[in-house]
Assembly symmetry: D2
Homo-oligomer: 298 residues x 4
């Protein structure tokens, strides 16, 4: 049987250790540094010849640096004779810019996907990558690719740690409906989606499609919290409609600036995120989800 | 005749303007920004269809970010129908790591060169890229590539701005000999190279090959000043051997930390660099050198 | 009765919200921003005249920026007529440099303490500030000052979340003994301290004073984890001596670079820190400890 | 006679060397570093007891860090027995926020000035500090303070390096009139000031008070270029009114983002700044101005 090696890039060194623990293996030793002039350096300290190697590297905060380190790693692994390189990019940045919204724009998502392929990645795993115009991530990549989800473990964590009375799951918009559905299944609850209804040239009403949140505990589920605008707004609206306890959940807690404080201040009791982006709210690890998928690939 | 467009990336917006002035054309308008979550965005605001487009983008300080913006630009230009993309990378980072010095190392230079090609660059210009094991940059790239030099304009600047009496040009090491030669030709002077002579297990003597610097004005020429260690050492040694006035010259003044202060404090009267890396010592522009080469490509 | 207002600086906005929830009050609205040229701006949006105001601001990662924002806040509060300003600095940086180890050194700790006083702070609370040469923080400050501890809630968290069999608490060095003692009291366990024994000019043995860790679960307690060197070393030594499960605990998880990965990789099952420094291991909040102390001051 | 020592902080190490050369003395050796956890460290390597010591430290880009290092230096010098500490802060940040424009704002300028005094500064020199509501910097400080100017050497540089035909000096607004006046004296030319004339609720016309710029070479003089908005606008207006060659001059070239490219692209032939803020346009040193003032203080 082909032996699986596991490397954690600088952005996901801790997550790689957790995945390795789940798989009952060690991590491949890596020397990674940044020179004073800003150049990166990586050196793989184990023999990778003929092996299948997993490279885990997320793309948060300094996505270009993390991506470039990923390129260095994958290219080096291939040069050193690795049989297959499986890239795991837990938070895949640039997914928003997946088409040309205005003339002359770079389609950043496409640039990233092409480079990831060109550099030698054989298969790819991501977590809750926001796909806007396609149904499946395999339509975006020419290599085999799977989009896993952090929502099941996030929801289980909420279920275990918060006493929620007959809760309802809310998606802040239509694109988050897929995740609200998964969460409601796990909680055994209903879910609904917020919709914008245009009442006039300057007037918009935001409300749930069908259900009332009045006096109910609510779990809001979204994929990314960046500057937190959407989540703050959602919490405020639900509070306005009489929601009781509110727990906010997101896969990728980028948490730019004071977003966490603003979400809590708006009325959320807690924000629960995963460790695709290491953060003060990364209470839930995606390591089991990744480990499960890797087992399925052997 | 094919029309030439000129775009300056974030790292070289000023240099691009100067090249455009040399060529008597304007620069193509670019919208480039960084989102709060760290993602880059670029939009080219002119029509590039069927045109030959020059993209000038240096790789100093945050090389990975500048390189990724370069990828976004070139890929977008090709998608938008540009006929040919000529990349100008005035300071080309990662040239040092051009082979595997220790087992398992990534050969960063190769990763960068391959990605630059894969993303769609048709031809490449660089300035004084340090080539260690090849004679010509065209051996490194599969696309047509030229390595231009900032040493002629740097030397002319020194000649015009400093009264040097019967100067001698010094290369801090063998690899800088090529630039010392060029400079000495322009100054109409001699040149020499510093060599390390091992006198015992712990004893090294550094001295010029042939000529004495005693009571002579000296111009030191090197390609990169990063943390400044080599240049500080060179200035000290030449002072020790009795050099009179010392002018330090470099193509790429990265000037990490307090390197400039240390070089001046060691005894250099001035440090003169080019604008491949915008810095407080970038008194000389490589715009004429780039413009000349671009004219030759039309 | 004097009314207590609570302000969270940029470094501790979330912690301030948690303290406010503990006290059953709201936070005073603050507008804080950084201009493109690097200057900070703060504006207090509530009336503070005649009030006692608590300013919570930690000093992690960019201590000088956080400290300067603290200065802006306290000075403004005093100018605006606040009756009393209570500073809460959960992680107090610069405590290490509390004397002149080499001639000519700045005693940074003293500079910070004097400025905090001069700017108008009336009373001060800190958490586990490392005091090296004094017994009590009140000897360092001219204003009333208390040094609270995160170790009780940290230890309680460990007790509740990890099944430890007959554990022993270990202090990595003599200075951490105070915290090991507190933790062992809460766990109802023994504690011991690692000591360096010099066996020869180049040979040092590190071992526990009295007790064996063989086949025992161990809780290591320290105040700060910066680059993680001490904790990595401690975990390795305890593993070498046959320790079973190891849980590392620290008040201030600065976690520079890859320190967390290195600590886990060395053999720690988990690292548990507090939110004096928001981090991926800040599972424990010091909000109850701060709230309790503030109640005692009213 | 009291001996003068000169120390350059991290922000002004090169400028300090230049001032020292002007004075024919050396610089006092300083060890300054930043630990991985963000803390600063300084150590003064010469004996300062009984000496008058000049500390040169500018406040650009990361003003809080530079200011804190200044505090460390001055406090250490006083502790170490320096007789007098003369602070030289070439670019003095936070001068804009010199009063409370909106209720609750911190008056940052005042916080900085008070701390600079409290930490032990005996006398202060600054360069072109923007004073909005006072005539003289000595009204702001309780210690002796002088506000020097970079405009004379900047103007002399322009005079020597650009062939200007019957030029006119323009101040972008009333507050810059003082510098336009100085520059016009040196150039032996006229000067004028741009004024906003409100033509209606949404309509503003900007024009010179008295003189026409049509077909004339223009020198624009301002104190600070931060994001460059004012300067870009000024260049555009003057071009609109038919100005010929435009040279932009500023004391403090902060040059945030792409401001330099935008100023040149708007039509300025060149931007000339001083080295209070080291930048690619810092062609003029304020070292002679500072040296002259220091001589006057002995």
């Amino acid at each position: 049987m082909v032996q699986l090696l596991l490397i954690g890039g600088s952005a996901s060194d801790v997550l790689a250790l957790k995945v390795a623990r789940e798989l009952g293996i060690g991590v491949t030793k890596l020397q990674a540094k940044k020179f004073p002039d800003g150049e990166k350096y990586v050196r793989i300290l184990d023999d990778v010849k003929g092996k299948d190697v997993v490279v885990i590297q997320s793309m948060y905060r300094t996505p270009d640096e993390h991506l470039f380190e990923y390129f260095l790693l994958v290219k080096a692994l291939k040069d050193l004779g690795a049989r297959k390189v499986i890239g795991v990019i837990p938070y895949f940045a640039y997914a928003r810019q997946d088409r040309r919204f205005n003339p002359g724009e770079a389609i950043s998502f496409q640039t990233v996907t092409r480079l990831i392929e060109n550099v030698g990645t054989d298969e790819l795993l991501t977590i809750d990558t926001h796909l806007h115009r396609v149904d499946d991530i395999s339509e975006v990549f020419k290599i085999p690719a799977q989009n896993l989800s952090a929502v099941p473990p996030l929801t289980s964590y909420v279920k275990q740690n918060f006493k929620l009375d007959h809760p309802i799951v809310i998606a802040p918009d239509e694109e988050a409906e897929q995740w609200a559905k998964i969460a409601s299944d796990i909680l055994g609850s209903e879910y609904d989606v917020l919709e914008k209804i245009r009442l006039g040239p300057d007037k918009v009403e935001i409300k749930t499609r069908l259900l009332s949140v009045r006096d109910r505990d609510v779990v809001i589920v979204d994929d990314i919290i960046s500057t937190g605008g959407t989540m703050v707004e959602t919490v405020k609206i639900l509070k306005h409609y009489g929601a009781n306890k509110i727990i906010a959940v997101c896969s990728h807690p980028l948490l730019v600036g004071d977003s966490l404080a603003r979400i809590l201040d708006a009325g959320a009791e807690a924000l629960i995120g995963s460790d695709t982006v290491p953060s003060p709210v990364s209470f839930v690890s995606v390591a089991p989800v990744i480990a499960q998928a890797l087992k399925g690939m052997l």
